[in-house]
Amino acid sequence: MYRSPTSALSAFVLLLLVYASPAVAANPEIFIKGLGDKAIASLNEQGISQDERIKRFQSLLNDAFDLPQIARFTLGRYWRVATDAEKTEFVEVFEKFVIQTYSARFQDLSGKKLTVTQSREVSATQTLVLSEILIPGKPSIKINWRVHSKDTQHKIVDVMVQGISMSVTQRDEFAAVIRQTGGKVGGLIKALRRKTASN
């Protein structure tokens, strides 16, 4: 059926990319590469509905990102003063907010390609994977992924686009909102609820 063992192997790898959970990979570099290929293939499929696209994005997001941990980071110093009920509520509404905001940002992936350039260990459990999105006829976009690993299980904890950390941006914004609502985490939760309900 296959002309050479190599093509059989690549077909097998392709199968893995499509069906296996992207969070399981031999190392963080392979994890990011696989995630990029899978995201481009699955979100860029022609003829799927907008709802289906968002659903796929959500499942990729939940699988590959450590959202509760990111939520906790974005609350910064206010995590310590939040009540348990506020923490639970915040993590929940944060995930909604992220899906709403970022699914639109991954709309147009046609013709794009992700290549992993290198990686470096930042701690015993964390790796920074450097990659580039190649867009035909345009300068490439540098994307760095901070990956938390445990054996072959990998989760992304931050994404830096052209040197700008999404987690830090979100944390700075949330801090400003909290400060304006009198230092109360409840004020931020309310604002996030309004935002996710309106669009």
Binding site: D66, F73, A104, D172, A175, V177, G183
Partner: protein, 276 residues
């Protein structure tokens, strides 16, 4: 060392309060009460003592943008064919060559200076006065430099966040950089008035066009547009100062250090950390 630091903090404090008086009284943010530790830490981290003034300035800039720049840019994006827009962008970027070259040299980055010189020579000649970026196609990609970045590599502190009228997000260091760049730019001195009168708005439209979709996205998805712009501006500048190299000094989300610990010098110490 300690004395120097204490002196610097003192000087900075004096300058800050003097500048604060110089602004309208309403332009200064009231620091939170000293016993509210979370609030004080958040206030210091924001490094934005003139926040009310800055917010008013952003509103002013946005109103100007909505009335003039955005509509003009819209027409430009819709009406001018994409290849021509690229030519305009290349032409304007090429004009920055001498400034980038000078700042490369001032930062002691001789290899990058060579790259800039080569690009300028190639694109100004066979690239037809810069409208084609043949150097990039020959794998000699563009990089930016400015005097604000040069000051940062000389360990000059950024100072508090400032939103300038028309020029937008800045700080004292970058404000001085902006002025210095325009003074050291040969095209400021060697070109007729008409050329300069066309270049400045051209640059504004080109930049606005490049950021058009992102700004729409941010306006739609942000809870506090002002705070997002402030954060993006600072992170972008830090990344540019490091010449795009990833920083490893940032707090690591997910690790035990996931909660940021306030540093005695706030954000400023990070901005000038040596990077390569």
């Amino acid at each position: 060392m300690k004395v120097v630091r204490a002196f610097r903090i003192r000087v900075r404090g004096t300058i800050a309060s003097a500048a604060c008086i110089a602004f309208l009284a309403a332009g200064c943010a009231t620091p939170p009460p000293a016993d509210d530790r979370e609030a004080v830490a958040a206030f210091n981290e924001a490094n934005d003592p003139y926040e009310p003034f800055n917010r008013a300035m952003l509103d002013f800039n946005l109103a100007l943008d909505k009335a003039i720049l955005k509509p003009v840019t819209y027409v430009y994006r819709e009406g001018v064919p994409d290849p021509l827009q690229t030519n305009v962008h290349n032409f304007l970027s090429n004009l920055r060559g001498p400034i980038v070259f000078a700042n490369d040299l001032l930062q002691g980055e001789f290899e990058r200076a060579g790259t800039t010189l080569l690009r300028f020579a190639m694109n100004s000649t066979i690239g037809l006065l810069g409208i084609n970026d043949f150097a990039a196609e020959a794998s000699i990609p563009e990089h930016e430099e400015d005097f604000g970045q040069t000051l940062a590599t000389w360990n000059v502190e950024e100072g508090p966040y400032l939103v300038l009228p028309i020029f937008g997000p800045s700080n004292p260091r970058d404000g001085i950089g902006l002025l210095a760049d325009s003074l050291m730019d040969p095209f400021t001195w060697l070109t007729p008035f008409e050329f300069r009168a066309a270049r400045t708005p051209g640059q504004a439209i080109d930049r606005r066009a490049q950021a058009y979709d992102q700004i729409n996205d941010l306006e739609k998805n942000s809870l506090d547009f002002y705070a997002v712009i402030r954060s993006l501006y600072r992170q972008k500048r830090r990344s540019e100062i490091r010449n795009g190299a990833p920083s490893s000094s940032k707090p690591i989300p997910g690790g035990l250090s996931g909660l940021p610990t306030p540093k005695p010098e706030g954000q400023q110490s990070k901005a000038t950390s040596p990077g390569k």
